[in-house]
């Protein structure tokens, strides 16, 4: 984690009110991992007192650039969408804990709902680079909000669901998971909380449905076998989720982004944003 000054290199609206911006930040590009985030400060004259957290969308170490993908939801993101090339932003990062892919995992399933694409997008690159196969399930309200294939690597198998059926499967992206749960060695998801809660429920029943036996392990693969919140716990989990919450400091000081974990309160900014699904105390699924 460090404070750095990053220059905006390019900015474009890839979907209605959704922007993709590239920043030149070599030290960040060299150290950030998929799932981590940055905390961006808009200039004083923007009149805003808090930074804005963004998942790192893609990383290009060769050119020292990182991209972020965001939707204009308020004054901060609106200001950012109007920022011009050459504008310099104050960035705090990298922050939080990354996705942990088990070294033995061959098949990676990514599940993204809407802007949740920004949370898992970097993992597609990382997994492909490591020689893994990647399937990306994506859900949106309609075809107009579907993340463009041109922004994804060719090697990714891209499956789309839309609420209104205007493109791909008609229904929720979680409906698609059943077809891939046997294929996937691990799954990684980001999106609205009800979507993540549904996925967590599916993940809990997966071993039983597939008849997976945990031979040679007394008591099976239980949550307690690795300290909750550890990288090991995430590495062993079939499903990892990237959580979202309003944030203050983003370094763990203010306790503003705390959510319920099964072992007590957890800070999305510090213990997260990536958690093993079984570390979260999910509310009743919608």
């Amino acid at each position: 984690m460090r404070l750095l000054d990053a220059e905006l290199i390019s900015s474009r609206e890839i979907l209605p009110a959704q922007w993709l911006q590239a920043y030149h930040a070599p030290s960040l590009a060299g150290s950030v991992r998929a799932g981590q985030f940055i905390h961006v400060r808009t200039p004083d004259y923007s009149g805003l007192v808090l930074r804005r957290p963004f998942s790192v969308n893609t990383v290009d170490r060769a050119t020292g650039t990182v991209t972020i993908h965001f939707r204009v939801t308020g004054k901060g993101t609106e200001w950012m969408s109007r920022a011009r090339q050459g504008e310099r932003l104050d960035i705090l990062g990298p922050l939080g804990r990354p996705f942990e892919v088990n070294p033995r995992t061959r098949h990676v399933l990514l599940v993204a709902g809407g802007l949740g694409m920004a949370g898992v997008r970097a993992l597609a690159d990382e997994a492909l680079e490591a020689g893994r196969r990647v399937t990306l399930l994506f859900g949106a309200a309609s075809a107009a909000e579907v993340y463009p294939t041109s922004l994804l690597p060719d090697e990714v198998e891209y499956v789309v669901a839309t609420d209104d059926g205007s493109l791909g499967h008609r229904g929720y992206v979680t409906d698609l998971v059943a077809d891939y749960e046997a294929w996937a060695d691990q799954a990684f998801a980001c999106g609205p909380e009800p979507m993540l809660a549904t996925l967590a429920r599916l993940a809990r029943g997966r071993d039983e449905r597939l008849g997976v036996a945990h031979l040679g392990r007394k008591g099976g693969r239980t949550r307690s076998s690795a300290a909750s919140g550890s990288a090991q716990a995430r590495r062993r989990a079939w499903l990892q989720v990237s959580m979202e919450q309003n944030m203050g400091c983003a370094v763990g000081a203010c306790l503003g982004c705390v959510i319920h974990g099964v072992d007590g309160p957890v800070r999305v900014c510090r213990e997260g944003p990536v958690f093993a699904a079984e570390e979260i105390a999910w509310g009743e699924p919608a």
Binding site: G76, N246, G256
Partner: protein
């Protein structure tokens, strides 16, 4: 143009622990001093670096216990915005700060309030953390050892639901190496029981302060709530009950609506407003309290630049706490220390304490402490 002094922290000159040499610089004219880094070496005639270094930034927040809470500078970080001093890691240099007020600490662990807990508002933010903390024993075990190695004093912010809670927590902190003082949080607006009830009632504020005073010899600072009709009577009662200093203000009670869901945005419905939006309120309260009590007043509320620090000092504060602004700029407290020193050098002040209370009414026109005639 010698400024009229009203140094709140050092009423009796004989007991002045600083006895700073009142050297007047050869030339009192304005000097261009840059806030960061070494001062310009090409500035004409005047050796700026030595002058900035000569400025005395020290302040004693517990004059009744000389040296017990003597700070190197008057820039503190406010409770709840800097965790336990470790969270910002390498980004911010805790060793430079005047003092750290740690996250509110209670007897038993508290989960705090339901999320969402924070949201931004015009020129401010609302929070309703609800005093989440691991409990006093865990805080001591986990952090006190580290604090003892720091040159920056750590003031433990203490909250409770009853007078017994406060006393028990303070007894456990008493004598622990690394704990430099207590900030009594009787003004948290985000918890159902305890918290605010002690800050809005003169008798209750007095009782809890007196009970804690009997339980410890640690420097004791009591944090006022702005959510009262007249803060002066309460401040006076707290001083009379034995507080060494008074900090003001805690957050203002507020709320926000989630328009999409058509319900209160915060999980706790209500939250405490902080940030630049509340500075004028904090300034008014500091100004009132500084005229009412003789103990040092520590200002909190929307400090986000040197101008805010100067305003609070002139209104009678002996030190300031930086809070919400740290979230946007973790380096702000350190920079304010440098900027304050540069300002004093530029204005020919041997100590920033010469600014304390210069804007207060002189002699007459002191407001009554009865509070009955108060008109906002």
């Amino acid at each position: 143009m010698k400024p009229k002094k009203r140094v709140v922290t050092n009423r009796s000159t004989a007991a002045d622990p600083y006895a700073a040499p009142r050297r007047r610089p050869a030339l009192a004219g304005p000097v261009q001093a840059r806030p960061r880094g070494p001062a310009r070496s090409d500035a004409p005639a005047i050796p700026v670096p030595s002058r900035v270094a000569d400025v005395d930034l020290s302040v004693d927040l517990a004059p009744a216990r000389p040296g017990a809470l003597a700070l190197r500078n008057p820039i503190l970080v406010a409770s709840g915005t800097f965790g336990y001093g470790v969270e910002y890691g390498e980004v911010a240099d805790v060793q430079r700060l005047g003092a750290i007020c740690c996250k509110g600490t209670t007897l038993r662990p508290r989960f705090g309030n339901e999320p969402p807990r924070v949201t931004e508002t015009p020129a401010g933010m609302l929070n309703s953390i609800g005093l989440q903390n691991p409990g006093v024993d865990a805080v001591i075990e986990k952090y006190a050892g580290l604090w003892a190695t720091w040159q920056t004093p750590v003031i433990v912010n203490v909250a409770g639901e009853s007078i017994e809670d406060y006393v028990t927590v303070v007894r456990r902190l008493d004598g622990v190496p690394g704990v430099a003082g207590i900030e009594l949080n009787i003004s948290c607006p985000n918890v159902g029981k305890g918290g605010l009830q002690f800050a809005v009632d003169r008798e209750a504020a007095s009782a809890v302060t007196a009970a804690v005073r009997r339980a410890t010899d640690l420097p004791l600072m009591v944090k006022l709530s702005p959510n009262v009709a007249d803060v002066r009577a309460i401040a006076k009662a707290i001083e009379d009950a034995g507080a060494d200093a008074i900090s003001a203000i805690n957050t203002l009670s507020g709320m926000a609506i989630d328009r999409r869901r058509r319900r209160p945005l915060l999980g706790n419905t209500y939250g405490g407003l902080s940030g630049p939006a509340i500075k004028p309120v904090a300034l008014r309260i500091v100004y009132e309290v500084a005229q009412t009590v003789r103990v040092p007043v520590v200002a909190i509320g929307g400090v986000s630049g040197l101008d805010d620090v100067l305003d609070f000092l002139m209104a009678g504060a002996s030190a300031v706490q930086v809070g919400t602004a740290i979230f946007a700029d973790p380096l702000l407290p350190e920079r304010l220390i440098d900027e304050l020193a540069a300002y004093c050098a530029e204005h020919g002040l041997a100590s920033f304490r010469e600014l304390v209370g210069v804007a207060l009414p002189k002699g007459r026109d002191r407001p009554s402490v009865k509070g009955v005639e108060y008109r906002p």
